[in-house]
């Protein structure tokens, strides 16, 4: 177990380093010199050179990279060329909002998918089970932002029950915070829940055909008892794989949903950065998103080891 975890951790660190190189290199080859952007077209070459020296962009790329990447380790993302404010605190601020948004969406997805998928599998011969499969198919076809707009129309415009957008920090008013996040959670979670329902259904169906479920029934367990005691954990292994992929999708989906609901998350920050040509800010946000996806993969690997003893003893 320990060896397995150390290996996964090593893979995680190596991937983050490689991702850092890739993100930095990608931003470096983009046209546009921060100093020229800051000073405009009429700047004298001397002024540009002076600003470059101040930004540190006149140094060799390798030095710049090491400086930037080394800073990341203790939360220093550098100082914005555009606003001259440190980037780290901004990202930290927004990251919290996005994480809450994504995890809430995932919880909604799980609350939908686990019961619906299990029910559809157990009743796969009945019309109701088939209806759930069909409904999840429709859900898959709807993009999150469209679901968001529809939800706003129904709950905010028609029913006037929930705010159509905006965000209230939890410290200001917990009830309003919850109300402001409900629609974003639903619009992210329902769509992912529809996708997940199909995976849960097929995982449970596979497990239902396993010999050890028949063994459990031969011991005197009922159909559902056998599925609950012996099926659920076995079925969760393929579902965890999909969950990991979906969390990554949600993280990216949040960028769009934050726009729809005017939520000050990472996605919002990223789009502001792009619009303001704030290269270092964009670089930082992208790096955080990439690292988050890699971290999710690591957590998935850890989950495998916790769930499956066959992996624990493994090499």
């Amino acid at each position: 177990m320990i060896v397995y975890l150390l290996k996964r951790l090593a893979v995680l660190l190596a991937s983050v380093a490689a991702a850092g190189v890739a993100v930095f290199a990608f931003m470096a080859v983009l046209p546009g010199d921060p100093a020229e952007i800051a000073l405009g077209v009429n700047a004298t070459p001397e002024a540009v050179a002076e600003l470059r020296a101040r930004f540190g962009t006149d140094r060799p790329p390798v030095t710049q990279f090491l400086d930037w990447f080394g800073g990341l380790a203790h939360g220093d993302f550098g100082t914005s060329y555009v606003t001259s404010s440190p980037i780290g605190p901004q990202i930290a601020d927004r990251l919290g909002v996005t994480v809450v948004l994504v995890l809430g969406g995932m919880v909604v997805a799980l609350l939908v998918a686990v019961p619906a998928g299990t029910f559809a599998a157990v009743h796969h011969r009945d019309p109701l089970g088939a209806a759930i499969s069909a409904a999840s198919q429709v859900g898959i076809a709807i993009p999150a932002f469209l679901a968001g707009i529809l939800l706003v129309f129904v709950f905010a415009v028609k029913a006037q029950a929930l705010p159509s957008g905006g965000y209230v920090p939890i410290a200001d008013d917990p009830a309003e915070w919850l109300r402001s996040l409900l629609l974003p959670w639903l619009s992210l979670g329902l769509v992912q829940g529809a996708v997940l329902t199909r995976y849960v259904r097929s995982a449970v169906l596979d497990v239902m055909r396993e010999d050890y479920l028949r063994t459990a029934r031969a011991k005197g367990r009922g159909r559902m008892g056998a599925l609950w005691r012996h099926g659920l954990r076995n079925a969760s292994i393929p579902v965890v794989t999909v969950l990991g992929l979906q969390l990554a999708t949600l993280l990216i989906g949040a960028v769009v949903v934050e726009r729809v609901f005017v939520i000050p998350g990472l996605g919002d920050l990223l789009l502001n950065g792009v619009a303001g040509r704030d290269l270092l800010l964009v670089q930082g946000v992208v790096m955080v998103l990439v690292a988050a996806v890699l971290l999710i993969n690591f957590v998935v690997d850890v989950c495998y080891a916790v769930l499956d003893p066959r992996l624990r003893g493994a090499r």
Partner: protein, 314 residues
Amino acid sequence: MLTVEGLSVRADDLELVREVSFGIGPGERVGLIGESGSGKSLTALALMGLLPDGVTASGTARLGGRDLVGVPERRLKDLRGRTVSMVFQEPMTALNPLMRVGAQVAEVMTLHGVAAGRARERAAELLGRVRLPDPERIARSYPHQLSGGQRQRVMLAIALANEPDLLICDEPTTALDVTVQKQMLELIAEVAPALLFITHDLAVVASLCERVLVMYGGRVVESGPLREVFKHPRHRYTEGLLAASRLAPRGTRLATIPGAVPAAGRFPGGCVFRDRCAHATETCATAPALTDPDLTGPEPRGDGHAFACWHPRR
């Protein structure tokens, strides 16, 4: 003790097992033999109430005064694992891969009212009883850490845990190495209460059972004491089966039964074996009943050797 009468198994309009009747006395070991697809396993699953979805059983089967067929699942599951137990063919997949072996043995006892602590102690005892070395360590292992033979012993320990009246074994040694097979058979012979043993291996039946039922096409075509049936088979199918299992002298062709077992529902009407039988005549278009001619003859002997054939071997 176990009496089965007119047991039929159907899937939609297909009759997979037809009118099977037999009995097993206390402590008796009965073999159920026949080629793959003859309905042996379905018969066993019907007795366990574990038929797959869409497959149903009719007829009666009583074990110690309790009905096994046509009873609601709620009452059946009280009997399963307590009064009647089953060991399956494939030991590699029959155990939950994510659960320790000891817990899987203990589960069958806690399900039928044994306290958790006591069940855990008993689980280790049972693993010792099926002659697994170092039962305490085995109890803490996961299935993937055990060999096929060891896993089948675990399955046997589970089956025996609540001291059932009847043990059903469905080809429990088919997936095992020959040497392991022999040990397993000796163990089953030693520990089984009454036994219904399903196999297509005649040598296994000969070493283990006192009485034998021969199935073909979902019917019992011959039944009787093992010696009697093996020495003087009357049904032409049994005759072919025994000939095919005999060692042929070097240089001669192996005896076979011509043709192959038809798919379910494709058996001929009348005698189900008639399309593969060299002795079949027009009479065989009518289904022969399973009868014991000794009982109807002038001097009934009553050894229970019955067969369903119009042209039996003399």
